[in-house]
Amino acid sequence: MKLPLRFLVPVLAFAVLVAFFVIGLKRDPGQIPSPLIGKPAPAFALESLGDPNWIVGPADFAGRPWLLNVWGSWCVGCRQEHDALMAIAGQNRVPIMGLNLWDERERALRWLADLGNPYVSVAYDPDGRTSIDWGVYGAPETFLVDASGTVVKKHIGPITLQVWQAEFLPLLAAGAQAP
């Protein structure tokens, strides 16, 4: 039996569409890999947000896993993830250090006073130099550093409890078992 070509048009058009979707899925903007993964966490010694005389940095967490969360009071996504950060801090699994980016001290402190403070300490990075060392595209971003001081995970955009549960906790558990 001869197959009239016009009846093939829908399935061919659909095949083209699927091909585009396959490419589109691979180009997801949330999937930018960080060259920092597997490398030692870049060191820094910055003034604390609340107290210019107190210097904070990765050295404070030597031998322990910790989170670095890049935020600013100007950042809508940070506002969005704040509740999730508070919940993560409440679980007491890992200390969170804040890296306050492109911000004014007063506004940032007022933000923490208003919304709650999930951070053990906050490093103040008004000109964003330290953030450039960490390869930060923008806020919010969250890094997980393991006990040996190696960056093992980077999340771009607001963190959610789902992401925390699915992507961060397994890494933390694996780190805990390693000698």
Binding site: F7, L8, L17, V18, F20, L25, D83, L115, L161
Partner: protein, 649 residues
């Protein structure tokens, strides 16, 4: 414990879906009565277990079980009971469960209502619905389990997105899904027909009420979404051509084309392969919509949780279901070719034009929605296609569609004369043009060509719709529910066009910076910002403004827009203050606190906007009336007799 039972029930439901597919399709192939009977039982069981699973998730929300990740992410202890229940479908996982429940419900309906169908055909329909069900349940179990536990449990939930804490949006998803999923029935009927390779008028008669019912739900769902966006997003717009909106509008256009094409297939046995293709397309576009919304492949203001892994799964599922159906179509449809003649001005011609124009509109929207994706995939840069493009392109097929609608309704089947109503149609056209000029000149002192054309087409469609039942009553012809439904729906289209023309032509939208005591004027109304106070709700605090609206010194109304901050955190939410009226809405929304006592205040004058939704309600009601027509409920034997009579004629 209850969440684990829900998870278990979902697994059982999945296994029963597999049984439904195997026994349905296998039983039909083997002509095995026992298998076919088992498929029917599997449907009942599947529905019961999906319902149990859904019940378990609802229980977790009602009892505030924050040890369930999905509940902790989408609920809060202060959330009122109504929204705790609505939060079940407030995000991805629960939406899928609702999808699955709707599908199980429709399938159960098909099983209950189709006892008179040829048993193997019925088995195939059930089997295909089973395959779709497998896909969704596997998707949930593999990537989106709503029952995943959160260890350790969260002390407090993150709260339902405050945008979703609203009546219209609480009921919007279930209704929309009933529409989306309802097209699965027409899809399954079409695939079963393609497998069997024969199609008769009885097929069209079976498919029509199911399609009409699904289409009615989709109409209401889209209208609710538009109404919600109008008063909740704080922009005062009623349609944004957002990818998520387009995702629901495209299946609606395909469904509308399908309803009309089915009429031709039922009455005249024509357009068979085209009707089958539309039935496949309507549901395929529903699935495509789900993919676009859930995969994060397109960026949307309605953005829900997105995840590329989920996108990959849906895409694979899409490929199997839609690709499979289209291959089946390419293989089997050629033998369903129908040949019969009709005159160029017969009802068939007009319905053919209707289909061509609706599919053109659909293609333009699909192109506009996916264009950014194409460009990005071809590495030609990231682009967006805005509302102005859609607004313009959508008019191109819609204007001729409205014009032809008014004539086509009166055309006779097969024969090519309109003589009986021709003179009345000319009078209706004259009245429509005169009416449009009068409205433009007297009410708005504005006679722009596009506005006048819009009003004229709206009045033309409404008048022409009314001519039909009047002529029938005068001739003492019967007025079956299907005809009344068609008239009501077409009148609704005219009414919605009337509203759209009014609001798009004469709306006034302005933002002001006002302090208490100051005033601004738009559209001939004076808005005085007379007071500002703090307010406190069950789970939010905020401020409320008193905006006194007056016209020529006389008080019209008091608008009280609010700015809310939900206790659970998140962005501040806008509750617009709206005064509803037959000729216009007055709209005020509070923006940001600009400091020094000044607030940005958005004031809008929206003429005739209510008629958009009123029209949509009439359209849906017309669909309901048509679906309830007596001829779809005749006993099987009488129907068969009619069918053979129809094919003979």
């Amino acid at each position: 414990m209850i969440p684990e039972l829900g998870h278990f029930a979902l697994i059982v439901a999945f296994l029963l879906s597999v049984a439904q597919a195997v026994f349905g399709l296998g039983g039909a192939a083997r002509r095995d009565g026992a298998w076919l009977a088992a498929a029917g039982s599997a449907v009942v069981g599947q529905f019961v277990f999906v319902a149990l699973s859904f019940g378990a998730l609802t229980w977790a929300f009602v009892e505030r079980d924050f040890s369930v990740l999905y509940v902790a992410t989408n609920s809060h202890s202060e959330l009122p009971l109504f929204y705790r229940v609505a939060a079940v479908w407030g995000a991805h996982e629960g939406s899928l469960l609702l999808w699955s429940l709707c599908l199980a419900g429709w399938t159960l309906g098909v099983v209950a209502a189709s006892r008179s169908l040829d048993a193997p055909f019925r088995g195939r329909v059930i089997g295909i619905l089973g395959i779709i069900s497998i896909g969704f349940q596997l998707f949930m179990l593999a990537t989106s389990n709503p029952f995943t536990r959160l260890v350790p449990a969260a002390p407090e939930g993150l709260d339902l997105n405050p945008l979703l804490q609203d009546f219209a949006l609480a009921v919007h998803p279930p209704i929309l899904y009933l529409g989306y999923v309802g097209f699965a029935v027409a899809f399954a009927f079409a695939c079963a027909t393609l497998i069997e390779g024969r199609l008769d008028a009885a097929w069209a008669r079976w498919t029509r009420p199911w399609t009409l019912a699904a289409w009615m739900f989709l109409t209401i769902g889209i209208a609710l979404g538009s109404w919600w966006a109008y008063y909740e997003l704080g922009w005062g717009g009623w349609w944004f051509w957002d990818p998520v909106e387009n995702a629901s509008f495209m299946p609606w256009l395909a469904g509308t084309a399908l309803i009309h094409s089915l009429a031709v297939t039922e009455k005249r046995g024509l357009f068979k392969s085209w009707t089958l293709l539309l039935a496949v397309a309507a549901f395929s576009l529903s699935l495509l919509g789900t993919f676009l919304v859930r995969s994060g492949i397109l960026i949307s203001v309605h953005a829900f949780a997105t995840d590329p892994a989920r996108g990959a799964f849906i895409l694979a599922f899409l490929g199997i279901v839609i690709g499979g159906a289209l291959v089946l179509y390419a293989w089997r449809a050629p033998r369903l070719a129908s040949s019969a003649s009709f005159e160029p001005t017969s009802r068939e011609s007009f319905l053919l034009l209707n289909n061509a124009l609706l599919v053109a509109a659909l293609s333009l929207i699909l192109l506009g929605t996916l264009y950014p994706l194409f460009m990005d995939a071809l590495e030609l840069g990231k682009v967006t296609v805005g509302a102005p493009w859609f607004n313009l392109m959508f008019l191109v097929p819609m204007l001729p569609l409205l014009l032809l609608l008014g004539i086509g309704m009166h055309a006779a089947w097969k024969r090519g004369h309109l003589l009986t109503v021709r003179s009345r149609l000319w009078i209706a056209a004259g009245c429509a043009i005169a009416g449009a000029l009068l409205i433009g000149a007297l009410a708005y002192a504005d006679l722009r060509p596009i506005t006048t054309l819009g009003f004229a087409l709206a009045l033309w469609v409404m008048l022409s719709s009314l001519l039909m039942p009047l002529a029938r009553l005068r001739a003492r012809q019967p007025l079956p529910a299907a005809v009344v439904g068609m008239v009501v729906a077409h009148f609704g289209v005219g009414l919605a066009t009337f509203g759209i023309t009014g609001v798009q032509s004469f709306k006034v939208e302005k933002d002001f910076a006002l302090a208490v005591g100051e005033a601004a004027s738009i559209g001939g109304y004076d808005f005085r910002f007379s007071a500002l106070r703090d307010v406190r709700g069950a789970n939010f605090t905020g401020v409320e403004a008193d905006i006194l609206v007056s016209r020529d010194g006389e008080k019209v109304t008091m608008l009280q827009p609010q700015k809310r901050l939900y206790n659970s955190g998140g962005n501040p939410m806008t509750e617009a203050g709206i005064e509803v009226g037959p000729t216009r809405d007055l709209f005020a929304a509070l923006g940001d606190n600009l400091g020094e006592g000044r607030w940005s205040v958005r004031l809008q004058y929206k003429p005739l906007i209510r008629y958009i939704w009123l029209g949509a309600i009439l359209v849906a009601f017309g669909g309901l009336l048509a679906a309830l027509d007596r001829r779809y409920r005749l006993p099987a034997r009488a129907r068969d007799a009619q069918t053979s009579a129809a094919t003979a004629s």
